[in-house]
Point group: none
Chain length 251, copies 2
Amino acid sequence: MLTTQRKAYLLKVLKERGEIVAKQISEELELSEDTIRRDLRELAAEGKLQRVHGGALPSSAAMADFAARQQIAPNGKIAVGRAAANLVRAGQVVILDGGTTTLQLAKHLPLDLTATVVTHSPTIAVALQEHPTIEVILIGGRLFKHSVVTVGAVAVEAISRIRADIYFMGVTGIHPKAGLSTGDLEESHIKRALMASAAETYVLVTAEKVNAASPYIIASLSDIDGVVVEKQLSQNDVSAYKRAGLTIVRA
Amino acid sequence: MLTTQRKAYLLKVLKERGEIVAKQISEELELSEDTIRRDLRELAAEGKLQRVHGGALPSSAAMADFAARQQIAPNGKIAVGRAAANLVRAGQVVILDGGTTTLQLAKHLPLDLTATVVTHSPTIAVALQEHPTIEVILIGGRLFKHSVVTVGAVAVEAISRIRADIYFMGVTGIHPKAGLSTGDLEESHIKRALMASAAETYVLVTAEKVNAASPYIIASLSDIDGVVVEKQLSQNDVSAYKRAGLTIVRA
DNA sequence: AGGTAGCGTGCAAAAACGTGCAAGGTCAAG
DNA sequence: CTTGACCTTGCACGTTTTTGCACGCTACCT
């Protein structure tokens, strides 16, 4: 095992488990604690993590967990969410992705709207619990903690049995050539399955995600029907997507 | 558990519950009171909290106000939840019912516990998202809004494919003759399905539910293995359940 | 006023730490 | 192909930190 690999592993563990216990890692990797400690010291010097007695913890709020991200809903996300909520018609079956932007969508659904919402995000299910006339269908499966959505074969299977009118997708990047992408492989599969179960797919896009790409490709622009973007984006920024034939909703 | 995490945990508890009781925390974390007291002393020195006899309080009045609002869970539910959490062993597959008492159970699972939690409650899934080492399996289905749990054929089907070690059930009534009951028919079906998928079933019972019955019967006392009850209940109250062969855990 | 629960201190064992060093491996110049 | 510089890794050693326990003191409650 190479040093670089080992450090990557450490950062991965930190992200997934939220902590690193030096002794535990040394057993997992069958290396001495000294080596692990050395790595931790170096990663701490690079600012990638915070060294503590016994192991390491995430360096800062930069690695902020989902709970923290949730509290600070930027205006962009609120605007995009509200605009997308207006696209929903009475009686429709709507699929809502997980994520902070779609959560804003859910919170902005009109109180007199009668519709069915399908989601794989327990957070959104809880948020819609107070809505009087919306029927909620929750997709089960293994909980992917980082995004707080269910993933896995069980989830894909459940999704395949649903026919929805419209799917609102969240992404971490949208790019004219690379298409839509996200940071987790499992999630990209789920998003594809949700697309396949919906007649139309709209992507919710806040400014920082435009012309960006993440490791895992979900689909190309030609596979979706429209995007909801922040009003502040320039004509230049959206022209490529308009040319691709997408409906542009400015929030 | 790392020292730094423990201090973070203390501050979190302080924020959520509005107070810290040293003895209580030492039981939750399975550490000596000395260690907790030392931590409290250090945090007090940093001005992060105010040390008092028996534990600690928020340093500022503004914080105390916020904390007080959060503290809505009655002591009985907290005690029963905590006692039930202690029944969980490392590596087990645990089914958690929906409800406020089981939510307390989830919140009191030791932070270093490795286990799998199966639940049909999105609320519990969200609460466990912060837990570092617990794998969460969410049961999908139609959301029954009153209790915020999934129900229906899809849920029953998903449950039937799971084999768990122990199931913690919430009820609205437990009665020596009528057995276990709840207020919704769909939920009673789900609870039966969950029982069938678990090797053992424990029922969480707060004082007001003892010797009460609701419209829909879930099962008889002979179908379950134990109950977790509040300590305040008299011997008289529990004797009927003891005679039925149930394990009684007093919280 | 007396008993109990909580407190702080000192102490010892255990765990984690940093440093220096040697064995082994890699790579490139000779 | 050999040599030497350089890096990585595990171990030994002494140091520091952490933790639980024993002891006597203090605060709180009845």
